[in-house]
Amino acid sequence: MPRQDGWWETIKYIIVEALKGSRRYYLAAAGLLLLTIYGLYLWIFIQHAPVFLGTDYGGLILTGMNDSVVWGLYISFFVFWVGVAAAGIAFSIAAYVFNHPEFKKIAVLGEVQAISALTIVLMLIVVDLGRPIRALFEMPLLPNLRSMLDWDFIVITTYLLINLVGALVTIHYYRRDKALPKKFLVPFMVIAAPFAIGIHTVTAFISQALTARPIWNSPLLAPRYVATAFAAGPAILLIALYLAERYIEGFSVSIEVYKKTLYLVAGATIVGLYFTLSEAHEIFWYTTEPVKWAQAKELFYGPHLPYLAVLTWLWIGLGVAAVILALIPSTHNSKGAIAFISLLVVVAVIAEKTLTIVIPAYEPSTLGEIRPYHPTPIEYGITLGVHALGLLIYLLLAKPAIKAIMTHYFKPGAHHH
């Protein structure tokens, strides 16, 4: 076949490989697809029915949001997944900058993770927007370059494009058992690395400079976002690696990768915890800003929203536990234990970077009203659907990516490098 080496063949390869699989693979994909369709149904036919179908019922009123708390569950998880996406490229950076062969092997999985995380990010914005179709046309037509939202949209879509290119090129070379060319890698890294930091920084900038929301008014917000991103992102990748090793025959990753990544995860968690301490000090020690004080009280003690306090202390508790476990030699020498610590970190960062980031800014609101926000079933349903879509995309992309990795690195009979 003459055109075996073409890009078109690579795309075909990805599609064919994504659609091939065991019974278990099909079941998982079908389950995720069902959840996605359910979420889409809830969004189009119920929550956004007045916009899409012109009905009198429905609308964002079905969510727990109101004029006091205008952003809720969707934006909360948006913040978390931007972080996970940002950390996706961390592996590629580690792999190519330090030229580590074991890291190079799995670098593409970081890109796949970023692609699916960014899908979740963009979908969460879409379901949250009152009029998404208008936004599609007007964001490019009437950009306001003083609005951080526009910049966030620009960096997120560019970063998505970068990761799509990265994953495609990697699969393109690996599937034909070729190493990635330096000509591609160097410029790719130079462009991708600042964007990885950039997406989360700009996301933090959306909120950090708003005088109306004192608890966000901290120059530490963006660094804190990035720090915990570098805890949760690689932790999710470790869990994915662990599962891939279990379920894909012949796929194995050296424990060195696990250990080194765990150090990064633990280090980032320590920095994150340290930032939390620093913010807590600033708020509780000297602050004279009464609204900030009141918002921080909701965050740490939760007099009106107990779940905020639970999540905050869950972050601190699990974060400290994960760091201690990661430092003990007996636990950081087994892949299972490392996967478990990673799970702790992911839960801790979800606790730290979803509702606890967004909701305290509105409780009390800028005019002093406390109107407790509790997500409604429709919000949970749509959020679940969006996550199912992200996971489905991960599944469909990781499969051909791992297949390509195995073609290049795990040759039958040969010793892999």
């Binding site: 007045p50 916009v51 009905t55 009198d56 019922y57 429905g58 609308g59 964002l60 009123i61 949001m65 109101n66 004029d67 006091s68 205008v70 952003w71 949250d128 927007l129 009152g130 009029r131 998404p132 208008r134 936004a135 007007e138 964001m139 037509l141 009437l142 950009p143 306001n144 003083r146 609005s147 951080m148 939202l149 526009d150 949209f153 959306i206 909120s207 708003l210 005088t211 109306a212 929301r213 009464p290 609204v291 009141a294 800014a361 009390p364 609101s365 800028t366 005019l367 002093g368 009203e369």
Partner: protein, 364 residues
Amino acid sequence: MSVGPRREGSGNGSPKVDESRRNLLKAMAVGAGAAALTSVAAVDKEKFKKALRKVSIEDLLGVPADVEAGSTLEMRAKKKEKELKEWCRKEAEKICQERGDASEDCKLARQKCDLITVKATPAKKGVRYAMALDVNKCIGCRRCVYACVMENNQARNLGIEWIRVLELDRMEFQDLLGSEWYYGNEAPKKENVYVPIACMHCENPPCVMVCPVKATWKEPDGIVVVDYDVCIGCRYCATACPYGARRFNWAKPYVPVQELNPNMHILGNVPRQVHVMEKCTWCIQRTRDGGVPACVEACPVGARVFGDLNDPNSPIRRIAEEYGLFVLKPEAGTKPRFFYFFGPSRTPPREEAKSEGKEVKENA
């Protein structure tokens, strides 16, 4: 000059151009035919048309062309007016079928539909609006809120109110924490002070800065407006506003047509759509035509003052000179153009009045 029978869409602006042109032609055809050719029964219509030169309605009415044709907002307003009339008539017919043609609701609804005009009045040059509120006078009766709801066609089903009246402790009032929003009908209480808050029409509005699609902006006369046809409903402006002034249509807004205020401005009180942001516009449909906002008019104690800051004779200037103007949350750096002041005629507390032997009316 009368240009044929005016049917619909006439309002205060020009009638719809095509239709009027047709009417004009008809009128001219009839007039010319009657005067010159009484004996000739039929005129070759096509030839006749060729001999005529097209006349635009703008020329006829003597309206400056740049105002009428140049502004897209004006054109949008006209389109909106037509749509709204159609929608309103449909709604009115529903009411009439339900309650009978003779019912009061039916008559009112039909009347409102005929009266609908959507304006796009631009800002007057050199005008800088401002409003001030006398904290000593405000009795927390919320009449301004109700007047605002009626004037600005706010959704009745969503409880949207542009003005929020905060009840605060008179002695311990330092910040807005602990403010009571839903204080019932017992106001005014002597231990409380009442602070109505709506859009401050800031000089430096954070909501305008953050809007990702430029759906909200500050007009030259100082009014911060929202374009309901551009808003994408991201609610970033509501997050950025330090005064909680912005209201979102969380569901499809509903206003009964018999309660509709037919005097509308495209950037003001035209009925909103679902999932768009709205806020106080200082009654742009009134003030741009020289009136005062509905809240100023409705206030029973005259606590509100509205005027042009640039006009040395305006009431707002008098207040500024006599009592001084204060802003809420100066630390936000937004430079509000809505001010508070402490006027002279403060009602003495009841106890004090009693001890002086004066009659005090209950629930005054």
